[in-house]
Amino acid sequence: MITDININLSQWPFRRLPLDETSKFVARLQQNGITQAWAGSFDGVLHRDVAEVNARLAAECRLHGEGVLIPSGTVNPMLPDWRDDVRRCHEQHGMRSIRINPNYHGYKLDDPVCDQLFQHVVTHKLIVQLVLKMEDVRTHFPLMMVPTVDMTSLPDLIQRHPDVRLILMNNYSTLRSETLSKIAQKENVYFDISHAEQVGALEKMTNSVPYTKLLFGSHAPFFYLEAALLKFKESELGETMTHAIQFGNAERLLNEQ
Protein backbone atom coordinates (compact mmCIF):
# COMPACT_ATOMS: atom_id res chain seq x y z
CA MET A 1 0.00 0.00 0.00
CA ILE A 2 1.64 3.21 -1.18
CA THR A 3 0.29 6.74 -1.61
CA ASP A 4 2.22 8.68 -4.24
CA ILE A 5 1.53 12.38 -3.68
CA ASN A 6 3.51 13.56 -6.70
CA ILE A 7 2.39 12.48 -10.15
CA ASN A 8 1.12 14.38 -13.20
CA LEU A 9 -1.29 13.55 -15.98
CA SER A 10 -1.46 14.86 -19.56
CA GLN A 11 1.70 15.72 -21.48
CA TRP A 12 5.00 17.37 -20.60
CA PRO A 13 5.24 20.30 -23.05
CA PHE A 14 8.75 19.53 -24.31
CA ARG A 15 8.68 15.81 -25.10
CA ARG A 16 6.43 12.79 -24.87
CA LEU A 17 6.99 10.60 -21.83
CA PRO A 18 6.69 6.80 -22.02
CA LEU A 19 3.82 6.78 -19.49
CA ASP A 20 1.89 9.92 -20.39
CA GLU A 21 -1.28 8.00 -21.24
CA THR A 22 -3.43 7.72 -18.15
CA SER A 23 -4.57 4.11 -18.47
CA LYS A 24 -1.04 2.85 -19.17
CA PHE A 25 0.31 4.93 -16.29
CA VAL A 26 -2.34 3.76 -13.84
CA ALA A 27 -1.62 0.13 -14.74
CA ARG A 28 2.07 0.71 -13.98
CA LEU A 29 1.22 2.39 -10.68
CA GLN A 30 -0.94 -0.56 -9.68
CA GLN A 31 1.71 -3.10 -10.67
CA ASN A 32 4.05 -1.34 -8.27
CA GLY A 33 1.73 -1.26 -5.30
CA ILE A 34 0.65 2.37 -5.58
CA THR A 35 -2.89 2.36 -4.22
CA GLN A 36 -3.47 6.10 -4.26
CA ALA A 37 -1.84 8.81 -6.32
CA TRP A 38 -2.38 12.56 -6.10
CA ALA A 39 -2.39 13.72 -9.69
CA GLY A 40 -1.68 17.20 -10.92
CA SER A 41 -1.71 18.13 -14.59
CA PHE A 42 1.33 19.09 -16.65
CA ASP A 43 -1.07 21.47 -18.41
CA GLY A 44 -1.36 23.53 -15.24
CA VAL A 45 2.25 24.65 -15.62
CA LEU A 46 1.72 26.68 -18.81
CA HIS A 47 -1.98 26.87 -19.68
CA ARG A 48 -3.93 30.00 -18.76
CA ASP A 49 -7.38 28.39 -18.83
CA VAL A 50 -6.70 26.46 -15.64
CA ALA A 51 -10.43 26.05 -14.94
CA GLU A 52 -10.54 23.82 -18.01
CA VAL A 53 -7.28 22.10 -17.01
CA ASN A 54 -8.73 21.26 -13.60
CA ALA A 55 -12.10 20.10 -14.95
CA ARG A 56 -10.35 17.84 -17.45
CA LEU A 57 -8.03 16.52 -14.76
CA ALA A 58 -10.93 15.71 -12.45
CA ALA A 59 -12.77 13.92 -15.25
CA GLU A 60 -9.66 11.98 -16.24
CA CYS A 61 -9.15 10.77 -12.67
CA ARG A 62 -12.82 9.79 -12.42
CA LEU A 63 -12.99 8.02 -15.78
CA HIS A 64 -9.56 6.38 -16.01
CA GLY A 65 -8.23 6.51 -12.47
CA GLU A 66 -9.33 3.00 -11.46
CA GLY A 67 -9.94 4.36 -7.98
CA VAL A 68 -6.23 5.13 -7.65
CA LEU A 69 -6.04 8.73 -8.86
CA ILE A 70 -7.23 11.72 -6.91
CA PRO A 71 -6.92 15.09 -8.64
CA SER A 72 -4.88 18.00 -7.36
CA GLY A 73 -5.87 21.14 -9.25
CA THR A 74 -3.71 24.01 -10.35
CA VAL A 75 -4.16 27.51 -8.97
CA ASN A 76 -2.33 30.43 -10.56
CA PRO A 77 -2.86 33.59 -8.49
CA MET A 78 -1.53 35.78 -11.27
CA LEU A 79 -4.68 35.04 -13.29
CA PRO A 80 -7.82 37.20 -12.98
CA ASP A 81 -10.39 35.78 -10.59
CA TRP A 82 -8.12 32.96 -9.40
CA ARG A 83 -10.21 32.67 -6.23
CA ASP A 84 -12.92 31.05 -8.28
CA ASP A 85 -10.45 28.33 -9.34
CA VAL A 86 -9.85 27.60 -5.67
CA ARG A 87 -13.59 27.45 -5.08
CA ARG A 88 -14.17 25.13 -8.02
CA CYS A 89 -11.33 22.81 -6.99
CA HIS A 90 -12.99 22.44 -3.62
CA GLU A 91 -16.72 22.64 -4.33
CA GLN A 92 -17.07 21.33 -7.88
CA HIS A 93 -14.30 18.77 -8.05
CA GLY A 94 -14.08 17.77 -4.40
CA MET A 95 -10.31 18.16 -4.44
CA ARG A 96 -8.29 17.89 -1.23
CA SER A 97 -5.18 19.66 -2.50
CA ILE A 98 -3.97 22.17 -5.07
CA ARG A 99 -0.67 22.61 -6.88
CA ILE A 100 1.12 25.90 -7.21
CA ASN A 101 4.10 26.70 -9.48
CA PRO A 102 5.29 30.19 -8.45
CA ASN A 103 8.30 30.10 -10.77
CA TYR A 104 6.32 29.24 -13.91
CA HIS A 105 3.44 31.51 -12.94
CA GLY A 106 5.64 34.49 -12.16
CA TYR A 107 5.41 35.43 -8.48
CA LYS A 108 7.67 35.23 -5.46
CA LEU A 109 6.93 33.70 -2.11
CA ASP A 110 7.05 37.14 -0.48
CA ASP A 111 4.65 38.74 -2.98
CA PRO A 112 1.35 39.85 -1.37
CA VAL A 113 -0.55 37.61 -3.78
CA CYS A 114 1.07 34.58 -2.20
CA ASP A 115 -0.26 35.63 1.22
CA GLN A 116 -3.69 36.17 -0.30
CA LEU A 117 -3.59 32.72 -1.83
CA PHE A 118 -2.54 31.07 1.42
CA GLN A 119 -5.28 32.94 3.33
CA HIS A 120 -7.84 31.84 0.80
CA VAL A 121 -7.00 28.13 0.67
CA VAL A 122 -7.52 27.86 4.41
CA THR A 123 -11.17 28.75 4.01
CA HIS A 124 -11.48 25.85 1.57
CA LYS A 125 -9.39 23.48 3.71
CA LEU A 126 -7.08 22.62 0.83
CA ILE A 127 -3.56 21.25 1.12
CA VAL A 128 -1.02 23.28 -0.86
CA GLN A 129 1.50 21.38 -2.97
CA LEU A 130 4.25 23.90 -3.65
CA VAL A 131 6.26 22.68 -6.65
CA LEU A 132 9.77 24.10 -6.45
CA LYS A 133 10.83 23.03 -9.91
CA MET A 134 9.76 20.66 -12.66
CA GLU A 135 13.04 19.93 -14.43
CA ASP A 136 16.78 20.26 -13.89
CA VAL A 137 17.43 23.91 -14.78
CA ARG A 138 20.45 22.91 -16.82
CA THR A 139 18.31 21.10 -19.37
CA HIS A 140 15.54 23.66 -19.83
CA PHE A 141 14.38 24.71 -23.28
CA PRO A 142 16.70 27.62 -24.20
CA LEU A 143 13.89 30.12 -24.79
CA MET A 144 12.15 29.10 -21.57
CA MET A 145 14.62 28.99 -18.74
CA VAL A 146 12.63 29.12 -15.52
CA PRO A 147 14.62 29.46 -12.30
CA THR A 148 13.78 27.21 -9.38
CA VAL A 149 11.52 28.84 -6.76
CA ASP A 150 13.54 31.15 -4.52
CA MET A 151 13.16 29.77 -1.01
CA THR A 152 14.67 32.65 0.93
CA SER A 153 11.37 33.96 2.23
CA LEU A 154 9.75 30.55 2.76
CA PRO A 155 10.34 30.39 6.54
CA ASP A 156 8.57 33.75 6.96
CA LEU A 157 5.69 32.68 4.73
CA ILE A 158 5.23 29.54 6.79
CA GLN A 159 5.44 31.60 9.97
CA ARG A 160 2.60 33.84 8.76
CA HIS A 161 0.35 30.92 7.79
CA PRO A 162 0.51 28.24 10.45
CA ASP A 163 -2.87 26.87 9.33
CA VAL A 164 -1.85 26.07 5.76
CA ARG A 165 -0.82 22.48 5.28
CA LEU A 166 2.06 22.74 2.88
CA ILE A 167 3.94 20.07 0.93
CA LEU A 168 7.26 21.04 -0.61
CA MET A 169 7.56 19.11 -3.85
CA ASN A 170 10.73 18.37 -5.82
CA ASN A 171 12.62 19.94 -2.97
CA TYR A 172 15.98 18.18 -2.63
CA SER A 173 19.03 20.37 -3.33
CA THR A 174 16.71 23.37 -3.60
CA LEU A 175 16.34 23.65 0.16
CA ARG A 176 19.56 24.88 1.68
CA SER A 177 20.31 23.40 5.05
CA GLU A 178 19.83 26.67 6.94
CA THR A 179 16.34 27.07 5.43
CA LEU A 180 15.56 23.43 6.05
CA SER A 181 16.58 23.63 9.70
CA LYS A 182 14.15 26.55 10.17
CA ILE A 183 11.15 24.73 8.73
CA ALA A 184 11.71 20.99 9.24
CA GLN A 185 10.09 21.01 12.67
CA LYS A 186 7.03 23.07 11.68
CA GLU A 187 3.82 21.13 12.30
CA ASN A 188 2.19 22.02 9.02
CA VAL A 189 5.08 21.48 6.57
CA TYR A 190 5.72 18.26 4.67
CA PHE A 191 8.35 17.16 2.16
CA ASP A 192 8.14 14.76 -0.76
CA ILE A 193 11.04 12.38 -1.41
CA SER A 194 11.07 12.45 -5.21
CA HIS A 195 14.39 14.22 -5.61
CA ALA A 196 16.24 12.83 -2.56
CA GLU A 197 19.74 11.94 -3.68
CA GLN A 198 23.10 10.61 -2.42
CA VAL A 199 23.72 7.01 -1.45
CA GLY A 200 21.23 6.01 1.20
CA ALA A 201 19.22 9.13 0.40
CA LEU A 202 16.33 8.41 2.75
CA GLU A 203 18.60 7.59 5.68
CA LYS A 204 20.08 11.05 5.22
CA MET A 205 16.73 12.74 4.70
CA THR A 206 15.29 11.20 7.87
CA ASN A 207 18.26 12.64 9.74
CA SER A 208 17.40 16.19 8.74
CA VAL A 209 13.60 15.98 8.63
CA PRO A 210 11.38 14.03 11.06
CA TYR A 211 10.12 10.95 9.22
CA THR A 212 6.57 11.92 10.12
CA LYS A 213 6.93 14.85 7.69
CA LEU A 214 8.11 12.85 4.67
CA LEU A 215 5.77 11.69 1.91
CA PHE A 216 6.30 9.21 -0.89
CA GLY A 217 6.37 11.16 -4.14
CA SER A 218 7.76 9.96 -7.43
CA HIS A 219 7.45 12.89 -9.86
CA ALA A 220 6.37 10.23 -12.36
CA PRO A 221 5.88 9.95 -15.23
CA PHE A 222 8.52 12.69 -15.70
CA PHE A 223 10.83 10.56 -13.55
CA TYR A 224 10.95 6.80 -13.76
CA LEU A 225 8.62 5.60 -11.00
CA GLU A 226 11.25 3.08 -9.90
CA ALA A 227 13.54 5.87 -8.67
CA ALA A 228 11.30 6.55 -5.67
CA LEU A 229 10.52 2.88 -5.06
CA LEU A 230 14.17 1.79 -5.05
CA LYS A 231 15.06 4.40 -2.44
CA PHE A 232 13.45 2.07 0.10
CA LYS A 233 15.77 -0.75 -0.92
CA GLU A 234 18.87 1.42 -0.71
CA SER A 235 18.02 2.84 2.73
CA GLU A 236 17.21 0.56 5.62
CA LEU A 237 14.50 2.51 7.39
CA GLY A 238 12.63 -0.24 9.18
CA GLU A 239 8.93 -0.91 9.07
CA THR A 240 7.65 2.04 11.08
CA MET A 241 9.35 4.71 9.00
CA THR A 242 8.72 2.94 5.72
CA HIS A 243 5.01 2.62 6.37
CA ALA A 244 4.76 6.21 7.55
CA ILE A 245 6.51 7.64 4.50
CA GLN A 246 4.80 5.38 1.98
CA PHE A 247 1.31 5.65 3.39
CA GLY A 248 0.62 6.69 6.97
CA ASN A 249 1.75 10.30 6.83
CA ALA A 250 -0.31 11.04 3.72
CA GLU A 251 -3.35 9.41 5.25
CA ARG A 252 -2.99 11.43 8.44
CA LEU A 253 -2.56 14.61 6.41
CA LEU A 254 -5.77 13.95 4.47
CA ASN A 255 -7.72 13.11 7.62
CA GLU A 256 -6.71 16.35 9.29
CA GLN A 257 -9.09 18.24 7.06
Binding site: Q198, V199, G200, A201, E226, L230, E236
Partner: protein
Protein backbone atom coordinates in the same frame (compact mmCIF):
# COMPACT_ATOMS: atom_id res chain seq x y z
CA UNK B 1 24.75 -8.85 -12.97
CA UNK B 2 25.38 -5.17 -12.28
CA UNK B 3 28.68 -3.42 -13.00
CA UNK B 4 28.66 0.27 -12.14
CA UNK B 5 30.78 2.59 -14.30
CA UNK B 6 30.87 5.67 -12.10
CA UNK B 7 31.48 6.19 -8.39
CA UNK B 8 33.23 8.55 -5.99
CA UNK B 9 34.10 8.47 -2.30
CA UNK B 10 31.45 11.02 -1.37
CA UNK B 11 28.07 10.87 0.31
CA UNK B 12 29.32 8.86 3.28
CA UNK B 13 31.23 9.76 6.43
CA UNK B 14 34.74 8.52 7.00
CA UNK B 15 38.11 10.14 7.48
CA UNK B 16 39.92 7.67 5.22
CA UNK B 17 39.12 6.15 1.85
CA UNK B 18 39.18 2.73 3.45
CA UNK B 19 36.35 3.72 5.78
CA UNK B 20 34.38 5.32 3.00
CA UNK B 21 34.65 2.50 0.48
CA UNK B 22 33.52 0.00 3.12
CA UNK B 23 30.37 2.06 3.70
CA UNK B 24 29.71 2.55 0.01
CA UNK B 25 30.01 -1.19 -0.57
CA UNK B 26 27.22 -1.79 1.96
CA UNK B 27 24.92 0.20 -0.30
CA UNK B 28 26.27 -1.61 -3.37
CA UNK B 29 25.41 -4.92 -1.67
CA UNK B 30 21.86 -3.80 -0.95
CA UNK B 31 21.35 -2.89 -4.59
CA UNK B 32 23.04 -5.93 -6.08
CA UNK B 33 25.96 -4.00 -7.58
CA UNK B 34 28.76 -6.55 -8.02
CA UNK B 35 31.50 -4.32 -9.37
CA UNK B 36 31.98 -0.62 -8.80
CA UNK B 37 34.33 1.69 -10.69
CA UNK B 38 35.78 4.56 -8.66
CA UNK B 39 37.59 7.67 -9.77
CA UNK B 40 38.88 10.82 -8.11
CA UNK B 41 39.40 11.38 -4.42
CA UNK B 42 38.81 14.51 -2.38
CA UNK B 43 38.77 17.43 -2.07
CA UNK B 44 37.19 17.95 -5.51
CA UNK B 45 39.51 19.65 -7.94
CA UNK B 46 38.05 20.71 -11.25
CA UNK B 47 41.40 21.67 -12.70
CA UNK B 48 43.90 19.49 -10.84
CA UNK B 49 47.63 20.08 -10.98
CA UNK B 50 49.72 16.96 -11.58
CA UNK B 51 50.43 16.89 -7.87
CA UNK B 52 46.70 17.00 -7.11
CA UNK B 53 45.68 14.27 -9.54
CA UNK B 54 48.49 12.02 -8.31
CA UNK B 55 47.28 12.49 -4.75
CA UNK B 56 43.69 11.69 -5.75
CA UNK B 57 44.79 8.63 -7.69
CA UNK B 58 46.71 7.49 -4.62
CA UNK B 59 43.46 7.63 -2.69
CA UNK B 60 41.78 5.44 -5.30
CA UNK B 61 44.70 3.00 -5.33
CA UNK B 62 44.50 2.75 -1.56
CA UNK B 63 40.73 2.22 -1.61
CA UNK B 64 40.69 -0.52 -4.23
CA UNK B 65 43.70 -2.33 -2.72
CA UNK B 66 41.41 -4.14 -0.28
CA UNK B 67 38.58 -4.58 -2.72
CA UNK B 68 40.29 -5.76 -5.90
CA UNK B 69 37.57 -8.34 -6.53
CA UNK B 70 34.78 -5.71 -6.25
CA UNK B 71 36.18 -2.31 -7.12
CA UNK B 72 38.02 -0.99 -10.16
CA UNK B 73 39.90 2.30 -10.45
CA UNK B 74 40.14 4.80 -13.29
CA UNK B 75 43.03 7.29 -13.17
CA UNK B 76 42.08 10.97 -12.97
CA UNK B 77 44.10 12.94 -15.55
CA UNK B 78 44.13 16.52 -16.86
CA UNK B 79 44.55 17.22 -20.57
CA UNK B 80 46.28 20.51 -19.73
CA UNK B 81 49.29 18.50 -18.59
CA UNK B 82 49.87 15.91 -21.34
CA UNK B 83 53.36 14.80 -20.26
CA UNK B 84 52.46 14.44 -16.59
CA UNK B 85 49.18 12.77 -17.49
CA UNK B 86 50.97 10.24 -19.67
CA UNK B 87 53.38 9.47 -16.86
CA UNK B 88 50.44 9.05 -14.47
CA UNK B 89 48.76 6.73 -16.96
CA UNK B 90 51.88 4.55 -16.92
CA UNK B 91 52.01 4.57 -13.13
CA UNK B 92 48.34 3.83 -12.46
CA UNK B 93 47.29 1.74 -15.46
CA UNK B 94 50.26 0.28 -17.38
CA UNK B 95 52.22 -0.52 -14.22
CA UNK B 96 49.39 -0.35 -11.70
CA UNK B 97 46.00 -1.95 -11.09
CA UNK B 98 43.77 0.70 -12.69
CA UNK B 99 41.79 -0.11 -15.83
CA UNK B 100 40.70 3.23 -17.26
CA UNK B 101 40.95 7.00 -17.12
CA UNK B 102 38.64 9.81 -16.10
CA UNK B 103 38.76 13.22 -17.77
CA UNK B 104 36.62 15.90 -16.22
CA UNK B 105 36.04 19.61 -16.85
CA UNK B 106 39.46 21.24 -17.11
CA UNK B 107 40.17 20.74 -20.80
CA UNK B 108 38.00 20.38 -23.88
CA UNK B 109 38.48 16.92 -25.32
CA UNK B 110 38.15 18.22 -28.89
CA UNK B 111 41.65 19.76 -28.48
CA UNK B 112 44.35 17.68 -30.18
CA UNK B 113 46.71 18.12 -27.26
CA UNK B 114 44.83 15.27 -25.62
CA UNK B 115 45.56 12.78 -28.41
CA UNK B 116 48.67 11.11 -26.91
CA UNK B 117 46.63 10.19 -23.81
CA UNK B 118 43.85 8.71 -25.92
CA UNK B 119 46.31 6.78 -28.11
CA UNK B 120 48.09 5.31 -25.09
CA UNK B 121 44.74 4.31 -23.58
CA UNK B 122 43.96 2.57 -26.85
CA UNK B 123 47.19 0.58 -26.64
CA UNK B 124 46.50 -0.38 -23.04
CA UNK B 125 42.81 -1.14 -23.77
CA UNK B 126 42.05 1.20 -20.89
CA UNK B 127 38.51 2.58 -20.68
CA UNK B 128 38.14 6.31 -21.29
CA UNK B 129 35.43 8.15 -19.36
CA UNK B 130 35.10 11.75 -20.55
CA UNK B 131 32.62 13.94 -18.66
CA UNK B 132 30.27 15.85 -20.95
CA UNK B 133 27.43 18.29 -20.31
CA UNK B 134 25.20 20.53 -22.36
CA UNK B 135 24.14 23.20 -19.90
CA UNK B 136 21.62 25.62 -21.31
CA UNK B 137 23.21 28.35 -19.15
CA UNK B 138 26.58 27.51 -20.72
CA UNK B 139 29.35 25.09 -19.86
CA UNK B 140 32.48 25.88 -17.88
CA UNK B 141 35.34 27.02 -20.13
CA UNK B 142 37.05 23.60 -20.19
CA UNK B 143 33.90 21.51 -20.03
CA UNK B 144 33.33 19.25 -23.04
CA UNK B 145 30.03 18.70 -24.82
CA UNK B 146 28.99 15.47 -26.55
CA UNK B 147 29.80 17.24 -29.84
CA UNK B 148 33.37 17.85 -28.61
CA UNK B 149 33.56 14.17 -27.77
CA UNK B 150 32.35 13.21 -31.23
CA UNK B 151 35.22 15.26 -32.70
CA UNK B 152 37.66 13.39 -30.48
CA UNK B 153 36.12 10.04 -31.38
CA UNK B 154 36.48 10.71 -35.11
CA UNK B 155 40.22 11.21 -34.66
CA UNK B 156 40.48 7.84 -32.88
CA UNK B 157 38.03 5.51 -34.60
CA UNK B 158 39.65 2.39 -33.12
CA UNK B 159 39.52 3.56 -29.50
CA UNK B 160 36.39 3.10 -27.37
CA UNK B 161 35.34 6.28 -25.60
CA UNK B 162 32.55 6.81 -23.09
CA UNK B 163 30.45 9.96 -23.28
CA UNK B 164 29.92 10.68 -19.59
CA UNK B 165 26.43 11.83 -18.50
CA UNK B 166 25.40 11.73 -22.18
CA UNK B 167 25.61 15.50 -21.98
CA UNK B 168 22.96 15.68 -19.25
CA UNK B 169 20.48 16.84 -21.88
CA UNK B 170 20.38 13.36 -23.37
CA UNK B 171 17.91 14.29 -26.08
CA UNK B 172 20.74 16.22 -27.74
CA UNK B 173 23.66 14.21 -26.35
CA UNK B 174 22.52 10.95 -27.91
CA UNK B 175 22.18 12.56 -31.31
CA UNK B 176 25.61 14.22 -31.06
CA UNK B 177 27.45 10.89 -30.73
CA UNK B 178 25.09 8.71 -32.75
CA UNK B 179 27.30 8.60 -35.87
CA UNK B 180 30.45 7.56 -33.99
CA UNK B 181 30.31 3.79 -33.45
CA UNK B 182 33.29 3.84 -31.06
CA UNK B 183 31.37 6.03 -28.60
CA UNK B 184 29.32 4.51 -25.79
CA UNK B 185 27.25 6.63 -23.44
CA UNK B 186 27.35 6.67 -19.65
CA UNK B 187 23.84 7.21 -18.34
CA UNK B 188 24.69 8.07 -14.73
CA UNK B 189 24.81 11.32 -12.83
CA UNK B 190 21.62 13.04 -13.91
CA UNK B 191 18.00 13.10 -12.86
CA UNK B 192 16.07 9.89 -13.59
CA UNK B 193 14.11 11.43 -16.46
CA UNK B 194 11.88 8.90 -18.16
CA UNK B 195 12.52 8.09 -21.78
CA UNK B 196 16.30 8.49 -21.57
CA UNK B 197 17.22 4.83 -21.89
CA UNK B 198 14.44 4.11 -24.37
CA UNK B 199 15.79 6.79 -26.71
CA UNK B 200 19.36 5.61 -26.21
CA UNK B 201 18.50 2.04 -27.13
CA UNK B 202 16.43 3.17 -30.10
CA UNK B 203 19.12 5.47 -31.52
CA UNK B 204 22.38 3.77 -30.51
CA UNK B 205 21.48 0.16 -29.77
CA UNK B 206 21.73 -1.29 -26.25
CA UNK B 207 25.37 -2.32 -26.84
CA UNK B 208 26.46 1.32 -26.65
CA UNK B 209 24.64 2.17 -23.41
CA UNK B 210 26.43 1.73 -20.07
CA UNK B 211 24.89 2.00 -16.60
CA UNK B 212 26.70 3.97 -13.92
CA UNK B 213 25.46 5.82 -10.88
CA UNK B 214 27.80 8.69 -9.88
CA UNK B 215 27.46 7.69 -6.21
CA UNK B 216 27.76 9.07 -3.55
CA UNK B 217 26.43 12.40 -4.89
CA UNK B 218 23.68 10.43 -6.62
CA UNK B 219 21.87 7.39 -5.31
CA UNK B 220 21.91 3.91 -6.76
CA UNK B 221 18.12 4.07 -6.61
CA UNK B 222 17.63 6.97 -9.00
CA UNK B 223 20.24 5.73 -11.46
CA UNK B 224 19.29 2.05 -11.55
CA UNK B 225 15.70 3.19 -12.06
CA UNK B 226 16.66 4.51 -15.49
CA UNK B 227 17.29 0.93 -16.58
CA UNK B 228 14.76 -0.98 -14.47
CA UNK B 229 12.01 1.45 -15.42
CA UNK B 230 12.77 1.62 -19.13
CA UNK B 231 10.45 0.09 -21.65
CA UNK B 232 13.12 -2.13 -23.27
CA UNK B 233 13.80 -5.88 -23.40
CA UNK B 234 15.28 -7.81 -20.48
CA UNK B 235 18.24 -8.75 -22.69
CA UNK B 236 18.94 -5.05 -23.36
CA UNK B 237 18.72 -4.29 -19.63
CA UNK B 238 21.38 -6.94 -18.95
CA UNK B 239 23.69 -5.41 -21.53
CA UNK B 240 23.28 -1.94 -20.06
CA UNK B 241 23.54 -2.96 -16.41
CA UNK B 242 26.75 -4.92 -16.76
CA UNK B 243 27.54 -6.91 -19.87
CA UNK B 244 28.66 -3.93 -21.94
CA UNK B 245 31.12 -2.66 -19.33
CA UNK B 246 32.36 -6.18 -18.72
CA UNK B 247 32.95 -6.65 -22.45
CA UNK B 248 34.80 -3.34 -22.64
CA UNK B 249 37.04 -4.11 -19.66
CA UNK B 250 37.66 -7.80 -20.33
CA UNK B 251 40.90 -7.37 -22.36
CA UNK B 252 42.56 -5.17 -19.75
CA UNK B 253 41.27 -7.24 -16.84
CA UNK B 254 42.64 -10.35 -18.52
CA UNK B 255 45.98 -8.61 -19.07
CA UNK B 256 46.07 -7.83 -15.36
CA UNK B 257 44.97 -11.29 -14.35
CA UNK B 258 41.88 -9.98 -12.56
CA UNK B 259 39.21 -12.62 -11.95
CA UNK B 260 35.93 -11.66 -13.54
Amino acid sequence: MIWDLHGHFSGVDGATVDERIAKLMEYADRMGVERQVFFMGWPWSQDPTPEEFRKQNDQVLQAISHWHDRAFGFAYLNGKYPAESLAELERCVADGPMVGVKLWVSFKCSDQKIDPIIERCGELKAAIYQHTWLKVQGNRPGESTPADLAILARRHPDVSIICGHTGGDWTRGIRAVRAEPNVSIGIGGSEPTAGFVEMAVRELGAERVIYGSDIGGRSYASQLAKVYGADISEADKELILGLNLKRMLTPILNAKGVKR
